[in-house]
Symmetry: C2
Subunit: 235 residues, 2 copies
DNA sequence: GAGTGGTCTAGACCACGAG
DNA sequence: TCGTGGTCTAGACCACTCA
């Protein structure tokens, strides 16, 4: 192939990566300060910071302004199961914030409703312990709004027996500033963005969800049975 | 919410982004040299380069060593359809490279075959004009190897009528160095990585595919019919 | 206030591409 | 050879955290 250019930053990043992998640097441990590391590797602080940026983009370290650089603990991977079957994981806490709003722009198109049509938004953040794991914005036409009590069902998506079709669009991108801060990830760490649209038998959109999952600890799995799914002519 | 820190690099990136969006900088056009841009914005070249790095991560520009920075033309988005139904796009050229190899490590586990079991690899790169669009590594047990002639069917995946189940795992990550160069994208541009495993009625793995799609121009779409898919108890 | 990371500068030197 | 981007340096100054 073409490359193999061992720039200083990569050499340093490789070394630190190994130290993390072998456990010489433990989870949640603070790295030496940047000037210290720079002195140790005999490079300028600028170069050292470039090395750290590489690790940050891989999700290996977390930089905290004024405190230091920390080894990110390897959390359990999340698996998002497509097709409307969302696996409930008892180890995750979910915080839900409900808001009423009116359809406009993207949302209006996504839910195929008229402008200013009343919607209910569920903003869900799942945590494992202290670490945020995933972010979901779920939108439902207000008249279908499941009268969900937080104590009865922590996952509004389960409460949709009317959906007969779920269409999910998956993309990879870098997080917005807001997503990066709520998920506590680097803005250079790729995320999986899933747009899920559920329709009922009449073709009406029953629910639209925008999910954002950190790429370093999330997969999405989809299973299909091609022979039994010859009937695929819809948009 | 928290942020709104207009650092110089972001201000400059915003300005250039606008110039690209409004067409003042046209597709494939070369930007002024970095020293020129730095002078224009009255910043150091280091800062200017940080601004360009932001645009690069968004897929807006392409840096070519020794030549300059170029506005990346907005290509048509690719849509990968899940579930084994791969839409054939006549506007794309496909280059296929066939190799025989032996199963080991990841591949062995993915195809659920014994070690050193003979496999055939299809390395496919699709292009739209000069621009590489997607990268696929397809693995098939050698005895199932479709005796594909390049002139008869450019897409070996179509030639699998035996698959009864397709399981696709989707992740978001940054590309490897090799993927970045073949796809001609920045190593900071997120990619969609799809692992597709097809099995036949007996449960044997008929084909495994590793797809890599540039995140800025690819989506993957999955459609499910929850009510008709109650039978979901397999691994 | 002491210590941390975040941003920026001015300039040296190297590597690539094209004539 | 010349102009381009790529890497690195040494150091200034700012912003955040915590005692």
């Amino acid at each position: 192939m073409t490359h193999a250019v061992p720039s200083l930053r990569h050499t340093i990043a490789d070394d630190l990566r190994t130290q993390i992998a072998t456990g010489r640097l433990k989870a949640d441990e603070r790295l030496p300060s940047e000037p210290q590391l720079a002195a140790h590797y005999k490079v300028s602080t600028a170069t050292l910071r470039l090395a750290l940026a590489l690790l940050q983009a891989e999700g290996l370290i977390e930089k905290i302004h004024g405190k230091g650089n920390f080894v990110r603990p390897p959390l359990r991977r999340i698996t998002y199961a497509g097709g409307g079957r969302t696996p409930f994981d008892p180890a995750l806490q979910v915080s839900i914030c409900t808001t009423n709003l009116r359809a406009r722009g993207h949302l209006r198109a996504l839910l195929r409703v008229s402008s200013n049509s009343p919607l209910t938004e569920f903003l869900c953040v799942t945590h494992e312990g202290k670490s945020p794991h995933s972010l979901a914005r779920i939108y439902v036409p207000r008249d279908l709004a499941p009268t969900i009590q937080l104590n009865s069902s922590p996952r509004p998506r389960e409460a949709e027996p009317t959906a007969t079709k779920v269409r999910e669009t998956v993309t990879a991108r870098l997080p917005t500033q807001e997503e990066a801060t709520t998920l506590r990830i680097s803005s250079t760490l790729a995320v999986l963005a899933i747009t899920s649209v559920a329709t009922d038998a009449t073709g009406r959109v029953v629910e639209a969800a925008l999910l954002v999952l950190p790429g370093d600890r999330a997969d999405a799995v989809f299973t299909a049975h091609p022979t039994t799914e010859e009937r695929e002519t819809e948009g």
